[in-house]
Amino acid sequence: MSASDRIRRPPLDRTEPIRAWSSLFGAGPLNDVVTRSVELGYRVVDEYIRQGQKAAARFGSPSLGTETMASDMQDLGVRMVQYTSDVFGLWFEMMNVMLAGGSPFRPGNGIAAPPPPAEPPPPTRAAPADGGGARVRVEVASTRPAEVSVDLRPDAAGRRLVVHGLRAVDPAKPRLADVSIVADGDQVTVRVRVPPDVPAAVYNGLIVDEETSRPAGTVSVRIAP
């Protein structure tokens, strides 16, 4: 049989899987409207988030410290009054009375202390963290300024815990993979090694109870530029 007699498959219409937005719901191939809308949507929401972060950086994050909780509530009341009708005013007057009269928001009633201000740690450093009922130890190996925060659910002490690679909001940034957690009785140790070339960002990840596969807390690492 000569080469020209051989039965050949027709050329393929495509050589890759279809991974288009528009095909997710059974619609036709990717088209201009869908592509443009998604791109526009990302532009709008990313700009919105960027403006929000800029405003937050300008004014600073609100403290949740015990000493400012009452005034925060009053500020919140004033702002909400501006948005809606005068009925809010009455409601927040009641709230002020509640706060003044020894409410659950008074100092020393179980409110978590505000997080410490960002401070570049030395290359290796151990520090206590907010771990509910557990004693938490954080060990950081980094040549760059890094801030590590750990939140543990109160019932996490004594459980077998695991933490996966931490992610930045920007999916293009690599994961912070060298993170581990060891629980020994009521002592929980979180170890983080920051590679020297990791981009500056906030990286977050879940702490998971290995036995139940349920989330048991979060780890957050902020790498300064």
Partner: protein
């Protein structure tokens, strides 16, 4: 998740978490004096039903991140009360005639009474948020209140922008204007707030909540456009609102914005004249003409494609947020919601 299983799971979960929320709502809406002039009317909209999308998303997100469902019930009830408060006031502002298959509250009782009923629903919502304190403690309660304050601010700003467009008969609008407006007016209280608060309750942490803005924005915008499509295409018996009501109200939807851009100069002038008139001076003939032009320029198909594109982006954002979470029914429910918002009738 299989395509066949998704809608069933979504409907079942909406029913279950809706029931949980309704049980909590009953406490806030129990009959009390003054019944005739206030509290019987306050219970009217919540008792007309609804799909319970918002509270269910809040409870499911909290559970997916490790909380007990009960931890999120006060927030879910608060959200439903605030949602109904917004509906009462929106119906007045939009001069709407029907809500959930019945005349609107202001059509039944007059504008002053309806405004007061909306105020009372808002206050009950705040009460429910404060009631979080007993179960979640003061710190988390305060964080949720701050989230509620932001949600209320964003929603009011979005509604103000849309009302301003109608008052000033703004015609020179692009899709990005629409998306910015809908991010604030719809997405914050429909999908962003429920997701953020659910995650806050589940993780006990307010870190990294911005990623829920992306997910909630795409899901909420797809939801809103689908809602606007149903206003044009829905089954009157099931839709519960006036068909073509958005055209009667001159609401700036994606379809209307597309038509404004696609119409000829003469048609655009007629459209501008129609939109400049108060609702009472718009005729059924005019509304039918606008609806016919939307068909003629494929504005409805355009809106459908935009909704599908945004829903696809929300699936992408879902994977980024929930991808590392253990598999659970609640995670699958949130995933399934994306398809559900486009398929609901």
């Amino acid at each position: 998740m299989t395509a066949a299983a998704a809608p069933n799971l979504v409907v079942t979960t909406l029913g279950e978490y809706g029931q949980l929320t309704r049980a909590a709502l009953a406490d806030y809406l129990r009959p009390r004096e003054p019944r005739r002039h206030l509290y019987d009317l306050v219970a009217d909209y919540p008792q007309r039903g609804g799909r319970m999308l918002r509270p269910s998303l809040c409870i499911a997100t909290a559970r997916a991140f490790g909380a007990d469902g009960e931890d999120a019930v006060c927030s879910a009830a608060a959200l439903e009360l605030l949602h109904n408060a917004f509906l009462v006031h929106d119906d007045v502002e939009d001069e709407s005639d029907e809500r959930r298959g019945r005349p609107t509250l202001h059509a039944l009782h007059g504008v002053p009474v309806a405004v007061k009923v909306g105020d009372a629903l808002t206050l009950l919502g705040l009460r429910a948020l404060i009631d979080n304190r007993a179960r979640l403690g003061p710190r988390l309660t305060m964080l949720i209140l701050e989230e509620a304050e932001r949600m209320a601010r964003e929603t009011v700003e979005g509604q103000a922008v849309e009302l301003g467009w109608r008052r000033d008969n703004v015609l020179d609008l692009g899709e990005s204007d629409y998306l910015e407006m809908v991010l604030k007016k719809t997405c914050w209280y429909t999908t962003i707030w429920p997701s953020r608060v659910g995650a806050l309750i589940g993780t006990r942490s307010d870190r990294d909540l911005d990623r829920f803005i992306r997910f909630g924005f795409f899901l909420g915008a797809a939801f809103q456009i689908q809602d606007d499509l149903l206003n044009l295409l829905g089954d009157p018996a099931r839709y519960g609102k006036e068909i073509d009501g958005d055209i009667w109200e001159g609401k700036r939807t994606v379809m209307l914005i597309h038509l404004l851009g696609a119409a000829s100069a003469d048609e655009r002038a007629r459209l501008a004249d129609f939109l400049a008139r108060p609702r009472a001076e718009r005729s059924a003939e005019d509304v039918a003409w606008v609806r016919g032009r939307m068909d003629g320029y494929s504005s409805i198909e355009y809106g459908r494609q935009v909704a599908h594109g945004l829903a696809g982006a929300s699936l992408h954002e879902f994977a980024a947020i929930y991808g590392d979470l253990p598999d659970s029914r609640d995670k699958r429910f949130v995933d399934g919601l994306v398809t559900w918002v486009l398929e609901r009738a």
